[in-house]
Symmetry: C2
Subunit: 303 residues, 2 copies
């Protein structure tokens, strides 16, 4: 199953040319989910060929402008492009007032409903649970209420061993049972173990998105069994004091967290505009956690 | 005196790659004034090297998103860049609520004041009058209240004829009087006419910005004595019905207006996303008004 993330923006609040404020597109089996939506996100979507109508779910971590100023424009464009199906929006409750006041004063009556799911910022919760995956929030520690998100594949079915099932003439209507681990008993009454007629399913994968936060350890527990971790790394560690003061993290802190929680891959982003060249941030993280990558505009990472 | 306009965005509401929603920078003697501020305007400023701190006045024609969604981000960036001097904002009154609600929910306390001047949309008015120029609004006819703006240089002083004043040994302290047209009487009591000792001043120039509007003739009277006219041209004239329906104009209508009001130069913009190639719009306008140009991203036009 496809499970990958494409980066639309990597900058923190102060803008810098060639970097855009935060937004990511998660592709789970060709369902597109958007995480955060800084100003200019819709232009980035045009740049990287991401279609508006493929997005049904948008997750906003918190209400600092570099994470949501592009939302009202994106929703307006969905409207102008004739969308009628609902848009599911997971965000702090105040987003509703912010959007509605702008639609009101611009005389816009959306042709599709926005289904709001207000994120709780005092406890972790499952906010989406469908056939293929779940999404849960967890609490981060920033200057205003802020949540992280974990996107987790569900347990998968076992995979049919085609050669063996053909050899034994297993009728196709039994395949779903076999996939679920139920043994097959043939006409002669012989039991064939599902385990023997199938392969182990793919291990479910998880992607964690840690938006703006002080790396204070409070949320580490949620990052167990995560495959790919995105963690903000606004500063290098020589600016750890500034990071603390602004409730942000350093590249080293992100790497230490990735290492302690045994994730497989670390993506760092939300870079301060002071860093024109990002390689020192990457090197700082890789010293501690070698499988680190820069979450830069246009890059796609498999989870 | 420098008097020129740089285009930051030329698209109408539906986004299209390589075009940005409306924004323009007017440079009057190195004072920068911004007209409209669609999403992504601050990225366009970075692209074309326009400094935030040089902008003290922003004019918003109306509250459709493609004309103001970039404003909250730009103001946030001014704040993050340490601005303390006031920002003068000329816009429909509802802009205040829109901005304040976003600053409130993002926990932003601006370090500089915004001085609001709410535009009246039922009559023309002078909204700015300083040493060098005036700005006036006039009423356009769009789906929601919308104003155009005219930026007009003030009458200039006469210019000293250096060769002649040196020959006659006119003391420098008389130059200001000469510039104002006051004759010089020398020590022998001989009157030297200011008109002879000076050259005619430059004729004051004017730039008119016609944002989204039906070309219904109602505002034409304001466009007399305008040198450069920017007029929206969302559609070609074969879509005149659609233009009327949406309270927009066609390239031909913009050109007819430029011709009837005897302006010197016409800039057309606010192009519908349906036109990838803009040359047909230009040709349509030039058939009627040859001195027409496409107001495209990055272009600078002398007024």
């Amino acid at each position: 199953m496809k499970f990958e993330v494409t980066i639309l923006g990597s900058s923190s609040a102060t803008p810098i040319f060639h970097r855009n404020p935060t937004s990511q597109i998660l592709n789970i089996n060709d369902k597109l989910l958007m995480i955060d939506c800084g100003e200019g996100t819709q232009q980035q979507m045009l740049r990287y060929g991401i279609k508006y109508h493929k997005i049904d779910h948008i997750f906003i971590s918190h209400l600092h402008g570099d994470h949501f100023f592009g939302l009202v424009g994106l929703i307006s464009s969905m409207h102008l492009n004739g969308r009628t199906k609902p848009l599911y929006l997971y965000a702090p409750a105040e987003i509703k007032e912010i959007l509605e006041i702008q639609f009101k004063h611009s005389g816009t009556q959306l042709k599709f409903p926005i289904e709001y799911h207000f994120t709780q910022t005092n406890e972790a919760e499952i906010i989406l649970d469908n056939n293929g995956f779940t999404v849960q929030t967890f609490v981060l520690n920033h200057r205003i209420p802020c949540t992280g998100f974990i996107f987790r594949e569900k347990e998968r079915l076992r995979k049919i061993n085609k050669a063996l099932t053909e050899e034994l003439n297993v009728p196709q209507q039994y395949f779903q049972l076999l996939k679920k681990g139920i043994d097959f008993i043939d006409e002669a009454g012989v039991r064939h173990k599902a385990k023997d007629l199938t392969f182990e399913p793919d291990v479910p994968r998880a992607y964690a998105y840690c938006s703006d936060t002080l790396a204070d350890g409070s949320y580490n527990v949620h990052l167990e069994n995560v495959d790919t971790l995105y963690h903000e790394s606004t500063f290098m560690h020589d600016m750890a004091d500034r990071a603390k003061e602004t409730f942000h993290s350093t590249a080293r802190e992100a790497a230490e967290l990735a290492k302690s929680q045994h994730v497989k891959k670390l993506l760092i982003g939300h870079f301060s505009a002071r860093y024109r060249d990002l390689s020192p941030l990457l090197l700082e993280a890789r010293e501690i956690f070698p499988n680190t990558f820069l979450a830069q505009e246009g890059e796609t990472f498999l989870i």
